[in-house]
Symmetry: C2
Subunit: 269 residues, 2 copies
Amino acid sequence: MSSRVRLRIDLAYDGAPFAGFARQPDQVTVQGCLEEACERLLGQPVSLVCAGRTDRGVHALAQVCHLDVDPQTGRGGRAVADVEVLRERLDALVGSAIAIWSVRVVPETFDARFSATARHYRYRLIDTELAPPLARHDHWIVGEPLSVPRIRAGAKLLLGENDFASFCRRRAGATTMRRLTSATVRRPEPGRVDVRFVGSAFCHQQVRSMVGCLIEVGLGNREPAWIGEVLAAKDRSVAARVAPPQGLVLERVSYGHRWPAAPPRGKLR
Amino acid sequence: MSSRVRLRIDLAYDGAPFAGFARQPDQVTVQGCLEEACERLLGQPVSLVCAGRTDRGVHALAQVCHLDVDPQTGRGGRAVADVEVLRERLDALVGSAIAIWSVRVVPETFDARFSATARHYRYRLIDTELAPPLARHDHWIVGEPLSVPRIRAGAKLLLGENDFASFCRRRAGATTMRRLTSATVRRPEPGRVDVRFVGSAFCHQQVRSMVGCLIEVGLGNREPAWIGEVLAAKDRSVAARVAPPQGLVLERVSYGHRWPAAPPRGKLR
């Protein structure tokens, strides 16, 4: 019988200073920073599992991770006995580009990656010629007028269970079948367009690739039906270039009714 | 008779990469970048005058500058003949942290600094314990609950024509008399507080110093009446620490009905 205690961490980050979520040698990564901070506070080696491994420069408003702590080792016992103190210390240690919303003890059957039932991503665009410079941190400044109805018509063709090979950076041996349950496009104010996707899971670079193609439709360079052709081709070479990372944010991860709801938290913007 | 042509430039910038607006030796400044780009495009030395010299790290949504161009020198003639082309080239040359909203020919009686009738500044605060990391680029994350009515009561005591010596970094021989015409405090959404000041002009660090003091009132460390005492003291040592620069943005400069209205532009956030 394992005596390990599983912790769930909910966090946000500004993707700009990181070479993505996943740990990589000689790179500053979210996972690297988090694991290092956890190891220092817990006095034991840890291994983090996250809900969605975001790429270099991609932001997260609500990333979810889990890790297992041995209460018999280092300061593990004290840490799991008061997870709010652990949260405060972790938040202070990881620096201002990461915010730790909560740290909670969860059953070992909770898995940040495999228990997740849906991932929610938002991509933010600016389609005026000129944009306020601060917006470049979290928008793709397309700079030309986009048609929301055209983007909507194209996005509709991506819904359902599909082979998204055309929109994915392939990993050897991995399936590119995914279920896209929702794609919404709206203009929250003049000059801005938000595209939101909800799906069971997404392949590597899938959201940015879908946005890259949809922008071709929104600009009028392609017809909405072209999105269906790209999907059917199952060939990445027919797709448009992927959209830049800074417009993308992992907004939410759903775990269904079995798991406690995410804690209250601020809005990203 | 002068043959020089006066140009008005309306611009925005992300203050983070700059050591303030004003040119300084061996520092990256907004003025330095702008003057260098103008000199390259016009083929002649230029000297910029701005409406409000913002400090290191302070943002601007609508800064205004003027400069005089000799059409007989370098590429000056061609540039003033098509100011929209000049705007486009300038915007491309100054990099993504600066956006050039417009370049216009104005009468020589227009002065970006002395014709201005009002400056509008906004200071953005977050008063929840935790904040999304992207917000740290343009908010002061105070981290504790602020009372808007208390801040309002304190801000009211600053209105009118006053000697703001307690709130200014003094410059030798300069007056610290200023007219503050408006101070508004509101909570645009839970967790956020915006403070806006409108005045004929502001001394060096005046807005950040007023905000620093008002936050002491908002946190409950001081009574609103204390703001009046600080004002009356005319002594900087009685004021609170100045608020950090990244929460501050120069939102607008007014020039009254004699001068053309500012061009349409995007919102900063």
